[in-house]
Amino acid sequence: MLKISNLHARIEEKQILKGINLEIKPGEVHAIMGPNGSGKSTLASVLAGREHFEVTEGSVTFDGKDLLELAPEERAGEGLFLAFQYPVEIPGLTTTNFIKTAVNEVRKYRGQEPLDAVGFLKLMKEKMALMEMDQSLLSRSLNEGFSGGEKKRNEIFQMAMLEPKLAILDETDSGLDIDAIRIVANGVNRFRNENNAVLVITHYQRLLDYIVPDFVHVLYNGRIVKSGTRELALELEEKGYDFIKSEVAV
């Protein structure tokens, strides 16, 4: 589904990604862990198409298409979703209006008819219930005045509405208490099936207690320096990132 080969990227003059290789197949859950500044969020940004990141080498294909040639909205249409680490507050734009536009844009891109008002409302209510979100959030401005937990739940709610093939969760657990983590993880687990995939980017392994990965990769200094199964995450938790740093140095 996603194939990243020898990906190099920089922001301004600073080289951040220095040759990433990663393949994700349908039905899989991958986790990328790593210390601060290792390039985790840069990888998420490059995949979603954020401006100001320049790919200097390598390639990314998504279901056979050259992902890096697509605009961010086309990537979403193709089925890529990024749950933001810092969801943007947009005063004056209601959550309903936003999600309705997004759903119908994506449907249009995929050659589907727009959802009618009744179908849309039904879908929205179902997904909100899944994320244990209060209905009152719908008529409020997007993310404005939402708590940290509400923002992250709103991200997963959007994911559930847009039904992507690949969901990238960028530090979705940061700033969440244990109850919110459980709700977010439940949303992700309910979304998972054999046709889609999830890439979890996280600093801590605690989210991985709830969203159990098939593969864990350690990102350090712009490269994946170690890959393994779930046990690798537990080892990192126990030993800290210093053990990776010393291993890499050797």
Partner: protein
């Protein structure tokens, strides 16, 4: 003969016909003012960024008879909700009783201004209030309207009467026979503890140029409540100077929203004069322009008495070569202690060639007041754009949603649902939101 000379000649002709009018003296005084002050040029401080004099280089007709406009000609231009509104129609600056409709007789008193000035009942109100705006205008434009005052309208709301229907005022300029200068004039009087909602809009028909120099004065007496909306979405061959002068003579409430979406040159003068303690006023404005349109909002809040409150928020989005001007004056007179006056002007420029000049101007002579002002000029938030695009929303629609969202805290103050949805629709069209 240039336009100004032509105007003077026409005025003299008008006066020789209409000497018996109760408005003759005020018109003649204004003529002298106009003669003295002339059309303001860019050296005039209040007209620095708005080149009005160039408009007077064109040849205009000054029709002071009604055009032969028929109801069908403007039927399609009526605003949503019109079936439930009193509709007052001016054609080429002259009130047209034939085209106007009062939904419920007795809800309002309507009289030609001249007739009201001569009537026993309203002569005093007219004498006390007509032309009050000229005290705040130090240029010949306001004087020109007063000098020309012909076919004007007097609207009166009885004491303690809450009008059942909003009032829609249409200023139609019919340019099918040539360029037209029209100068509508009205005086609206809200009696004590009365309530009135007014919507004014401007429509030019025909393909020639129109220039509307309009003055409306609204007198709000004690415990009265005024809601006033101005919707400007005229064609690119239409220019206007539109003066809205609100005089709060007793403790009262005034709520104004000015929406400017299209036009060649648009200059709005909005004055709120709070002459009694405990007055409250709200001034909201949105301008959303592109092409070579020019919008100039001059607002003035005059706090004469203590304990008054005013809140002002003007927001603008300018694209392509559009130019904007915001000038917000707040006067706090010496006696106006405990004044609360807030002002904010926020702008987004969507192109490198759009410009805005914004200037708050506070003159405070009392020492125990709370006043604030602020202005910002920015561009579109790239992180918000990326957020929307990452959800599959196209660049164009993302931009449209963000601009609409930016306008929301002005738009939410349009309390008439028909007008609110009408303005929303105009904005979506203007922002080219593809409705899917």
């Amino acid at each position: 003969m240039n336009t100004v000379e032509n105007i003077k000649e026409q005025l003299n002709r008008l006066y020789s016909d209409k000497k018996e009018s109760g408005l003759h003296a005020i018109r003649q005084n204004a003529f002298l003012q106009f003669d003295k002050l002339g059309i303001p040029g860019v050296r005039h401080e209040e007209w620095k960024y708005t080149r009005i004099n160039a408009l007077f280089n064109k040849e205009f007709r000054f029709p002071y008879t009604e055009s032969n406009l028929l109801r069908n000609d403007w039927q399609s231009l009526r605003l949503p909700g019109a079936d439930d509104a009193h509709e007052l129609v001016f054609v080429n600056g002259i009130f047209s009783p034939e085209l106007s409709v009062l939904r419920r007789p007795g809800d309002l008193v309507l009289l030609p201004l001249e007739e009201a000035a001569n009537s026993e009942q309203y002569a005093k109100t007219i004498a006390a209030n007509l032309g009050h705006s000229s005290r705040y205008a130090k240029d010949g434009i306001n004087a020109l309207n007063t000098a020309w005052m012909y076919g004007g309208l007097f609207v009166h709301v009885q004491e303690k009467h809450q009008t059942a229907h909003p009032v829609y005022i249409y200023h139609i300029t019919d340019t099918r026979k040539g360029n037209v200068l029209s100068q509508p004039r009205s005086l609206v009087h809200l009696g004590r503890a009365s309530g009135l909602k007014v919507v004014e809009t401007f429509l030019t028909i025909g393909s020639q140029e129109s220039f509307t120099n309009q003055v409306i004065e609204l007198i709000v007496e004690e415990d009265a409540q005024l809601e006033y909306y101005k919707i400007q979405n005229d064609g690119l061959h239409a220019s206007q100077v539109s003066t809205t002068h609100v005089r709060q003579t007793g403790k009262s409430f005034a709520h104004t929203v000015t929406i400017s979406l299209n036009g060649n040159l648009v200059r709005n003068n909005l004055n709120i004069v709070m002459e009694a303690p405990h007055c409250e006023s709200h001034l909201y404005g949105l301008y959303l322009l592109k092409g070579h349109s020019h919008i100039d909002n001059h607002t003035l809040v005059d706090n004469v008495q203590p304990h008054c409150f005013s809140n002002e928020l003007y927001k603008g989005v300018l694209d392509e070569h559009a130019t904007g001007v915001f000038n917000g004056k707040i006067f706090v007179r010496q006696d106006a202690q405990k004044t609360n006056a807030y002002q904010s002007n926020k702008n987004i420029l969507l192109s490198d060639t759009a410009t805005v000049n914004t200037k708050p101007q506070l003159e405070i002579f009392a020492d125990d007041v709370k006043c604030s002002h602020g202005c910002t000029i920015g561009s579109i938030d790239t992180e918000a754009m990326f957020y929307l695009k990452s959800r599959g929303i196209t660049e164009k629609n993302a931009r449209s949603l963000l601009m609409h969202a930016f306008a929301e805290d002005v738009l939410e103050n349009i309390k008439l649902p028909f007008i609110r949805s009408y303005v929303d629709q105009l904005i979506s069209e203007r922002l080219e939101f593809d409705l899917l």
